[in-house]
């Protein structure tokens, strides 16, 4: 190949602004307006990449998003872009470009030897070969040899990507003549329009193909139309790819910026979509049709007219249709010697001056090693060539239409699939709809608007030459000699397709997965139809019958940064934060996430385990302060509030006296324990549901469901006040003394405020609620106060606490305190089978007569199964370490070893001087005293089943 830059011409480039960059270490010169691909061609580079599997040398094939070969990694200010298409990336001064999948360079790739073993590497070679003894043995080296670009592990975005939600009346995808006609028509009818195009400039085919509209040259009309749309305030975006069309006609766009900013993601909800996405030229099947220097005829014309690049001196054009003749004529006029090999007998009339046409002939093979040197025709003729242009017909770009669940219809006239029956809200226009001439194309743009068009606005008319097509099928044939490439990007040959069919992968979806045809970033843009046609031939079916694979978004690759937008780092899954976080941090709190909340795990800068154990010890000895603000506080208010809580809870709650609280379970309708917690009754018609921290949203939703479904809006009102209050807990033998020192104005003696009672008080002018409930087993007071006034109370508690040697308690210490007492955490000490009687709370099941959530399920056969897992404690032998959480109790009785349950919580208890554990064990409640085997990671230990409560079983300390 001897491509070169012509002294003149090139509508896209600015010869006054030269630039240089490097490619595989070599210096490349170009001009502003060049793509990386056009600059590489202009500098005579033939080999720009290596193929995915065989490491074959590959050159530039296309001029846009259809490019299957020229994938490059680009380093530029702002970081590295992997797997960019050289055909769509602008050339920039100073960028460093590397070919992918080639070591060290595309031209001198050391894995090129793989190609000589190609006959040992058929489709599915890896599946069949590296099975024994284990694929993982081979995987790293195979992955290193295959694969594409390299991700920069140190990459950090300089800023987050913008994401924009946009609404408009009409979205037009594609700013070629059809799209522009549609956009102009919609705007004239008074609609808001968004016109998007994935190229650097609007114009589509008019950018490099002849055509006059309304008596002006094509691009002059394009520029005038775009200027008019912009002046009317319509949205016109270039460098913007509509990559996905989703349910309810949501269209996702990715907009690339040329100033180093990350790409912008647009979510557009138009009332009408016009797809004017054009068509992609197909390769022509012949042996070695992947040699560098063989490229799309349309791309050659684009490089000539947009970039002033002549792709070769001695050019053979292989075609089955009329569209290649414009390229042939233009290249001949630019000085190349051109021979057209047209498979049709009847075609000669088109040829321009100085072109030789061989009608009724086909190319069967290309010659050359790192670049094409010539072709062999079906009649045995050899033609020398430094460049072969191919046009195998045009494949409408139906990806978005197909994503919208649009059905495709086979067109014999076009030898391609076109959009079939219309999809609601979507019109198709131009080449994607199968139009050929500019007249048809412009008319289809206006027609595609449907109800958003206007009959009174004038339609643009073609006033120049009209294109024709006259395409005939030129498909790959079975048993052809040599290696005929179907999919350049995935390295699939005709023989691979035939092999798949022989092995009975005759469904097009199976073919795709077995051979990888049409996969990866290419998504079958150039390869799909040739593959289908061959499969049809081999299996004796028509192409229409074989059908196409499902097109999936994205149409072209989209950077993760664009999809992520602001949802990265700490914003990926934002944690909820305590109102007193700053105070905890000032007190050396070490934070962890618990059920979506960021909470202090422990306090102190030293050893974590020591701090946690010290917290437990001091909490038992004197008093602990603990931030329990995350506990649910859902208010249930109204005339039927008491009926409501009776229905919601497993336990009878309506008998609770105002000013008191009761512990209870909420069940799911399948009888499984869903949440536990304390219900506070403030007065006759007002309760507070204090549910688990991580369950608040789910409990709230359930309460709403039953309220709306069963009780009615005027019977009960539900308000989630969790975030409005901070709850600060004082727990331990000296708890009462400390709370008294706070001067809350409440009577705290045990007659006035016994365990499980609530009192009102005031702190610094604000109402506080003091609740005597305990999750530690020690006397405890939970003080709830407006979240924005909590800090003063917390400070005061710490000041008064000095006299009592009060300790700040993190969640890890609290978990030990509650486990010592056998207090459970739902979802940790229970699983998806645990019913309340498995936890030893059987009373309501047998005694309650009223209806409640999950009641009927407590009487199904499985609920009475004698082998249910039940909550127990597990004790280990003196001096042994704690059991592993998750370790299984195992039993071997007759049959194989089997699980009889598992350890749910396990800690070292500093007060007891030994480990404590909770577990769910089969028939556990009746097995206290029995020693069982407990297995973890292959090690079996013994543990004795005991009562869940290991500390103060009489509960004296609650009142001490």
């Amino acid at each position: 190949m001897s491509a070169s830059r012509l002294p003149n011409g090139g509508s896209d480039i600015d010869r006054a602004r030269p630039l240089t960059f490097t490619f595989d270490g070599g210096r490349i010169e170009g001009f502003a307006g060049d793509t990386i691909a056009s600059a590489l061609l202009a500098s005579g580079r033939a080999v720009v990449g290596r193929s995915f599997k065989y490491h074959r040398p590959r050159g530039i094939w296309g001029s846009g998003v259809e490019e299957p070969n020229a994938l490059v990694d680009i380093e530029r200010a702002g970081g590295r872009v992997p797997n960019a298409r050289a055909t769509t990336e602008p050339a920039k001064d100073g960028i460093v470009v590397r070919s992918v999948n080639a070591t060290p360079t595309a031209l001198a790739d050391r894995n090129a030897v793989l190609d000589r073993f190609a006959r040992f590497l058929p489709a599915a070679f890896y599946y069949k070969t590296f099975m024994w003894p284990d694929w993982h043995l081979f995987e790293p080296r195979i992955r290193a040899m295959a694969g594409l670009g390299v991700v920069d592990r140190n990459w950090k975005p300089r800023q987050m990507a913008d994401q924009i939600n946009h609404h408009c009346d009409v979205l037009v995808v594609g700013a070629g003549p059809a799209g522009l006609a549609a956009a102009a028509g919609a705007a004239a009818a008074g609609h808001s329009v968004a016109l998007v195009d994935d190229s650097t400039r609007p114009g589509g085919s008019l950018r490099h193909r002849a055509g006059d509209v309304d008596s002006v040259e094509g691009m002059a009309w394009v520029d005038a139309m775009v200027a008019k749309l912009k002046s009317e305030g319509q949205l016109v975006l270039s460098d913007t790819t509509a990559f996905g069309l989703y349910d309810h006609n949501l269209v996702a766009l990715n907009q690339r910026h040329r100033d180093g900013r990350p790409d912008t993601l647009w979510r557009v909800r138009p009332r009408r979509i016009v797809l004017a996405t054009g068509a992609i030229e197909r390769p022509v099947p012949f042996a070695n049709n992947d040699l560098p220097g063989i490229l799309s005829a349309d791309a050659a014309l684009a490089y000539l007219r947009r970039h002033g690049v002549l792709v070769g001196q001695q050019i053979v054009v292989a075609t089955n249709n009329d569209s290649a003749y414009e390229a042939a004529t233009a290249l001949a006029a630019a000085g190349a010697s051109v021979t057209v090999v047209d498979c049709r007998r009847d075609c000669g009339a088109q040829a321009g001056a100085g072109i030789r046409v061989l009608a009724g002939r086909t190319v069967v093979a290309a010659r050359g090693r790192n670049a094409v040197r010539g072709v062999l025709l079906d009649d045995g003729t050899n033609l020398a060539a430094d460049c072969v242009l191919v046009s195998g017909g045009w494949t409408p770009t139906v990806h978005l239409f197909s994503q919208a669940k649009g059905k495709l219809a086979w067109s014999d006239d076009l030898a391609a699939f076109v959009p079939g029956e219309a999809v609601d809200g979507i019109g198709v226009a131009g080449a994607v709809a199968g139009t050929v001439s500019l007249s048809e194309t412009l008319a289809s743009g206006a027609a595609a608007l449907g109800p958003f068009g206007s009959s009174s606005t004038p339609v643009a008319h073609s006033t120049g030459a009209e294109a024709t097509l006259g395409v005939v099928g030129l498909w790959p044939k079975p048993k052809a000699k040599g290696r005929v490439w179907i999919d350049y990007q995935s390295d699939v040959t005709a023989k691979d397709v035939e092999l798949a069919a022989r092995e009975n992968f005759v469904s097009v979806e199976h073919l795709k997965r077995y051979t990888t045809l049409g996969m990866a970033t290419d998504q079958g843009k150039t390869s799909n139809l040739n593959g289908l046609a061959l499969l049809a031939d081999v299996t004796g079916r028509g192409i229409a019958e074989v059908g196409t694979t499902t097109y999936r978004p994205p149409f072209t690759p989209v950077p993760f940064a664009s999809l992520a937008g602001a949802r990265r780092g700490s914003m990926h899954a934002p944690v909820r934060r305590l109102p007193l976080e700053a105070s905890h941090r000032a007190a050396s709190g070490v934070f962890q996430e618990y059920g979506g909340w960021l909470r202090p795990a422990y306090y102190g800068s030293g050893d974590a385990e020591a701090a946690i154990q010290d917290g437990v010890r001091r909490a038992r000895q004197s008093v602990a302060l603990f931030d329990g603000s995350t506990l649910g506080k859902i208010e249930v208010i109204g005339p039927r509030a008491a009926d409501f809580v009776d229905f919601i809870y497993y336990n009878t709650m309506s008998t609770l006296k105002p000013g008191h609280c009761r512990y209870g379970f909420m069940l799911s309708e399948n009888g499984v324990v869903f949440d536990d917690g304390v219900l506070v009754r403030l007065d006759e018609h007002r309760f507070i549901v204090s549910c688990s921290s991580s369950h608040v949203a789910a409990v709230h939703a359930r309460l709403e469901e039953w309220r709306q479904d069963r009780f009615g809006r005027d019977a009960v009102y539900i308000h989630n006040a969790t975030a409005q209050y901070a709850t600060l807990t004082v727990s331990g033998p000296n708890a009462r003394g400390l709370v008294e020192a706070l001067d809350l104005g409440a009577t705290l003696d045990d007659a006035s405020l016994p365990h499980m009672a609530v009192a009102a008080g005031r702190f610094a002018g604000d109402e506080v609620r003091i609740t005597r409930v305990s999750f530690t087993g020690d006397r405890s007071y939970e003080i709830s106060i407006r979240a924005d006034r909590a800090e003063a109370l917390w400070t005061r508690m710490q000041q008064e606490g000095c006299a009592f040697d009060a300790v700040l308690l993190g969640l890890e210490s609290l978990m030990i305190l509650r486990a010592e007492k056998g207090y459970i955490v739902i979802g940790k000490d229970t699983d998806g089978n645990t019913m309340p009687h498995d936890l030893g709370v059987a009373g309501p099941r047998t005694k309650r007569t009223g209806e409640f959530v999950g009641r009927r399920s407590l009487f199904i056969e499985a609920a009475d199964d004698g082998n249910r897992n039940q909550l127990v404690g597990l004790a280990v032998r003196e001096g042994e370490a704690p059991l592993a959480t998750g370790a299984h109790g195992v039993e071997k009785s007759g049959g194989p070893l089997r699980s009889i349950g598992f350890v749910t919580s396990s800690y070292r208890s500093p007060i007891l001087g030994r480990p404590v554990a909770l577990a769910l064990i089969e028939r556990g409640a009746a097995r206290h005293g029995e020693t069982i085997d407990v297995q973890h990671l292959g090690v079996v230990r013994q543990a004795t089943i005991v009562a869940p409560c290991a500390f103060d079983p009489e509960g004296k300390r609650l009142h001490a």
Binding site: H248, A701, E705, Q708, D709, R855, R856, E861
Partner: protein
């Protein structure tokens, strides 16, 4: 991303909603309900292909409502608040 019409808030993105189940799955009360009937309430769904009527919750306003849509093409034909006659329906 689908657009669902909350009867109270208007069209919103599907991520704001929570599926509540097929409409018309009435809860049978009482302990004399047969195991089959209870299992039907808990587990047995029609899962229709085509037009379907479902209960959804709009998370941002907290309201449950009935929505009619097509499970094949995902078209939504309408939604309505749960009136008195719709309790449990």
């Amino acid at each position: 991303m689908q657009l669902f019409p909350c009867p109270f808030c208007g069209p919103r993105e599907e991520s704001e909603f929570h599926y509540g189940g097929e409409a018309g799955n009435l809860r049978p009360d009482g302990n004399d309900v047969t195991a089959e009937r209870w299992a039907g309430y808990l587990h047995m769904r029609d899962n229709p292909k085509g037009p379907t009527r479902e209960i959804w919750m709009h998370l941002t306003c907290g309201e449950f409502f009935a929505m009619s849509r097509d499970s094949v093409n995902h078209k939504v034909s309408g939604s309505s608040a749960l009136g008195e006659t719709e309790h449990g329906a």
